[in-house]
Amino acid sequence: MVSLLSHLLNGISLGSVYAIIALGYTMVYGIAKMLNFAHGDVIMIGAYITFSAVHMWNMPPVLAVVISMVVCTVLGVLIEGLAYKPLRQATSLAVLITAIGMSYLLQNIALLVWGPNPKSFPSVIGLPSISLLDGQLIIAAETIVTVLANIVIMIALTLFTNKTKMGKSMRGVSEDKGAAQLMGINVNLTISVTFAIGSALAAIAGVLLCSTYPVLMPTTGSMPGIKAFTAAVFGGIGSIPGAMLGGILLGVIEILGKAYVSTELSDAIVFGVLIIVLLVKPTGLLGKKVHEKV
């Protein structure tokens, strides 16, 4: 029973990281209608920047995280402006392949800058873990911080999209780009802001991910990136609560699969669940049904 509880907690913690990454995917997809494959690699860059700031320039962890968020925001806006903006009118295949190219570019830049050897990433969260039920259930401080961060980000994003002017234009652009432009919304600026928010979240996700699973490599971001994308699709791409739900469910399924079925098969289980969900509900759990126009 206690072990189940502890697996569930680990699952929710991992799922919270997936949820934060999935937010970046889902917001970009909702507004620019493109899969930003490079998102997972922005996470990796964010983690590397934090790592360098803490261990090479001896900065306090909080400052390091802020710097990493700033760098990732700039990076996200740059990627959008250089690679995706010229392709607004292009087919989705062309944009997807460009995004894959961007993902490889970031991985290889990281490979050249930081080298191929895995770096061990000590947790930036210097808090002791909590022990409950006479020490049978130990909750790591990372778990608590991750879940709290997830909740704060969710609330902040929901408020942002519902209450602010920028949030309103985001919703407008995601509904109908052309009509939004006619209403005087700056579509390009809105898309850039979306990328900026998504990339800043990716930096936070990178730090949280590497604090829990402390190995940092140029390919660190790709698998969590793919899984977070799966989470976004699972929850219904384009929907912010969907990303949260999908991320947490996926994290729990992965950890429970690892614990009770087989470590080797845990990825297969995660992707299997995605396929089943898409077959039953092709727009994901909370996605809107889009009618086909002829």
Binding site: Y104, L105, I275, L278
Partner: protein, 355 residues
Amino acid sequence: MSRAKKNFINNLITYGMVVVAFLICQLALSGSIDGFKMSRSLKGQLVPICVYIVMAVSLNLTVGISGELSLGHAGFMSVGAFSGIIMSTWLAARFNMNNEVVRLIISLFTGGIFAGIAGVLIGIPVLRLRGDYLAIVTLAFGEIIRNVLNCLYFSIDEGRLHMSFLDPMLPGKMIYNGPAGATGVDKISTFGMGFALILFTLFVVLNLINSRSGRAIMAIRDARVAAESVGINVPKYKMMAFVISAALAGMAGALYGLNISSVTAAKFKFDTSILVLVFVVLGGIGNIRGSVIAAALLTVLPEVLRAFSDYRMLVYAIVLIVVMLASNSPFIATRIATLKSKIIRKNQTKEGNPA
């Protein structure tokens, strides 16, 4: 010139190009001309070049002709590779088959059949989805195949094949050992067979494209609803393209697996699928000859530029982005168009007013 005739000549050029390239390679291998000899490292690349050409042409069938982005092509390659290896080992152990050519041909077709079966199983759910969703599900299936292969074990004991799931304890000699992959494979692949497989693939794909079915597949790609409304069976033709593409990838996989002495499932990661997709995109989506050329050049290139191998993927990434931007961005497209018209105008004025 009629369209059929144009197609015929076009295909002839493609076949001719492959045959001429093969003859040049044979000449270089024999070393009968002074100073024209193939380096050792290039010799080792001959079969992989054939493998990647077949992979690129078969993926082009899905991506270019059928218009569905597949990100799990390496999954079919791995199914083909391991079923081909197991077949080859079994044939040798059970029937003492010494004729390597026959053994290789049977193994290639086994790889193709198993990958085709995987294609049917995956195609049923995948082809119900569209666009980005389809891409992500093919990616998911590629990962699932790799994961499941890591849990399978095969051994051979007195000519009998044993198989287990998640249990490495099997009688006899292990052929395929879960995460450790297949080891001690008989290297029976030859460059000649690779050449034959390329011709076979081109024959299948080019004939399909120019057939009634091929036109139906392309009609679905261009306007699905219109195609459906004139009575084209959409699921059937989509499935046909997907399964043929998977089976050809399986044959390429078998050729690949039987060319090296040990293979693991990790070799057929997402990266391999992307690599083949890069060949298809750079060769031109839907252009079969382009795929052949791009696959051959981009497989050789890293060998030639061995000194720059650290930058290989970096260069790939940049080339991929630049090509996509150049071919799709309206900004660059208009610049190129004005440049072109300027050059043409210059030539015309030159011809008009001879100095």
